[in-house]
Amino acid sequence: MDFASTTVIEDLSFDVRRGETFGFLGSNGSGKTTTLRALLGIYLPSAGVLHIDGRPFTPEAGSRLGYLPEERGLYKKESVIAVMAYFGALKGLSKKTATAWSMDYLERVGLADKAKTRVDKLSGGQQQKVQLGVTIMNDPELLILDEPTKGFDPVNRRLLMDIIEEQKRNGATVLMVTHQMEEVERLCDRVILLKNGRAEAYGTIPEVQNQYGGTMIRMSYSGDIPASAHYDISTRDRNYAELTLTDSTDEALILRDLVAAGVLVRSFATSKLSLDEIFVSVYGEQNEMAAR
């Protein structure tokens, strides 16, 4: 994907499996939104195409797609119900079905009394709820959400996450861009980390955690920890140490070897790097360089 002479996304390929929730992660400016726009044909990419069930995506091919863009917006001078009915019709619903669905949805999100209110008379959060409704009203098979919780308070964020989980339970495939790592850990089956337009990491969350340091052992002890090909000693401070495993050796075997080497182990706990820590480690360096 090029902008004039600048290549923004390069050699990026990934698949999202039916029914899974896929996290699309990256720092600001890493190319997430541009990738989505290129996939959806909003930008014409210099190469590449979005295939859904093996068929190239076109807006009017009848694909059941729901897209919530990062830039939120609706027809502001129209009533909520008119806008929802319009998008419903564009997504192939009859006016009656779209209106009935919209009223049910507005009831659920606490906006039933705003159905005939002009969109620009709603608060930002209320507009976002309406826009989410527009996104999911065609019962999408593929739901693409670009920072869906941006601008939501905690209560409405929970409501939104519930709706997304419900869509997932109903069989929707969800591709989600977010900076909220707790949301990713809660919802996503697999993720991709984008850096400078390329995939930095790609896979299930445990796979990505393994890729970025894998399992870490935090232990308090007495004695000397022997060197090993199975781990690196990343931190050693008096009687505390952190060992980062370099392969998939079972933690119990490590403990057995340490004890066999005469180390008196007082506590021994394994943990993995959180996605948040991985994110900071991947993009922190980039941000520091940018700051310089």
Binding site: R37, V49, P59, E60, P69, A89
Partner: protein, 413 residues
């Protein structure tokens, strides 16, 4: 699906425009204004007729002196006049209110003014003096001529029914000019009414940040086509609303408004001229609409777009300033430039077509030029909309838009 979406877009765009109170307020202002003017005219005409009747019924007495010798004393007497020789005494009688008026006819009434002195009867009432003084002289002259037909001829009341021939066939004349001129009026009216809406129709998606949702739901060509058709429907509705009071006035108040009866059967419709006019109007409409949509797509706000669209409107109306040359010297350099320059071509060519100075090959070249350019501009507009309308806060760089070309057939992403 595309056809369904086109219908949906048209329904939404037309529905929301026609359901707006502001649309009807601005649209109804014109017919309401026309209705008010017509009402005033009816009241005015009724009042004038009543006044004229009252004046006719009122017995006016006057004195007159006649240095010309043209005034017939018998006619003057019938109208309530009495000949006098002392103008000063007669004017004094008027001042005293004992006589209504005194007229002094000069030796040569065709060169010098008739002097009228009268009792003030208000702005409208005073008109009666001029009328009576003039009528007395006219009736006296007719009496002198003796033959009413000669008298009418002397007044220049001659009707001429001219028949001209072109290539051995009876030429339509002015009645053949009017029908193709309708295209000029409709084109100008529609463009004047809709240019702002054309400009802002796609800006709305941009300003409201709706573009991304739209572009993943329907093809931008469908959206823009739907918007153009909607604009045409809205414009047609406006024209109907504007014309309604005129049609009602013609049908029911023609006499009150002194509207002459129009003989539509005299109009001559030349099929070739009508087809050429229609093609020029459609091609011009498509070209201007596409251009306005393209301008709307690259500008961040309606205000920014306004300055560029003003240039377009100037180009459109420029031929109207040269209309006398277009009619009288269609082959002059300026008219030729206006005829072939795409943005002045529609009006110029439609005017020349109406007046019969646009020959076949010229019409063909201009029609092809307009349709080809309109197709190109519409494609450009769609492309600019696709990329420009998600540049929410800045003007689109054309270089960037055209740089985004698919370089190869790519593997699956």
């Amino acid at each position: 699906m595309a056809r369904h979406n086109l219908r949906t877009v048209i329904g939404f765009e037309v529905g929301r425009t026609l359901s707006k109170r502001r649309f009807w307020i601005t649209t109804l202002l014109v017919p309401i204004g026309i209705a008010i003017v017509m009402t005033l005219m009816i009241i005015g005409n009724t009042s004038a007729a009543s006044t004229a009747d009252a004046q006719a019924d009122a017995a006016m007495t006057f004195t007159y002196s006649d240095a010309s010798g043209y005034v017939d004393p018998a006619v003057a007497s019938k109208m309530g006049g009495t000949a006098v020789t002392d103008d000063a005494a007669a004017i004094a009688a008027v001042k005293a209110g004992t006589e209504d008026a005194h007229f002094v006819y000069p030796a040569d009434p065709s060169a010098d003014a008739v002097q009228v002195s009268g009792v003030d009867k208000g702005l409208f009432g005073n008109g009666a003096y001029d009328a009576v003084a003039t009528q007395l002289l006219v009736l006296s002259a007719q009496n002198e001529i003796g033959d009413p037909a000669l008298a009418e001829l002397a007044r220049g009341n001659v009707s001429v029914d001219a028949t001209t021939y072109a290539d051995g066939e009876k030429a339509a004349g002015f009645m053949g000019v009017i029908p193709p001129l309708i295209y000029v009026v409709v084109f100008f009216l529609v463009f004047t009414l809709l240019s702002n809406q054309m400009l802002t129709s796609t800006l709305e998606e941009k300003e409201n940040r709706v573009t991304e949702m739209i572009l993943t739901t329907l093809n931008p060509t469908t959206l823009i086509t739907g918007k153009i058709i909607s604009l045409f429907i809205v414009g047609f509705t406006q024209v109907l609303v504007f014309l309604a009071p005129v049609a009602i006035a013609y049908a029911f108040f023609r006499d009150s408004l002194n509207i002459p009866e129009l003989d539509f059967s005299a109009l001559t419709f030349d099929p070739v001229q009508m087809i050429v006019g229609a093609l020029l109007a459609i091609g011009g409409f498509a070209l201007f609409t596409g251009t306005l949509v393209a301008i709307g797509a690259i500008m961040p706000t309606a205000k920014d777009a306004g300055s560029l669209s003003a240039v377009l409107i100037i180009l459109l109306i420029m031929p109207l300033y040269a209309v006398s040359s277009i009619v009288s010297s269609p082959h002059s350099f300026v008219v030729q430039v206006f005829t072939y320059f795409p943005y002045s071509a529609p009006l110029t060519a439609m005017l020349r077509n109406a007046f019969g100075t646009l020959n076949g090959w010229e019409a063909a070249v201009i029609i092809i030029e307009l349709f080809l350019l309109a197709a190109l501009v519409l494609q450009l507009a769609v492309r600019l909309f696709r990329y420009g309308s998600i540049q929410y806060t800045s003007r689109v760089s054309l270089k960037t838009v055209f740089a985004r070309t698919r370089s190869d057939v790519a593997p699956t992403v």
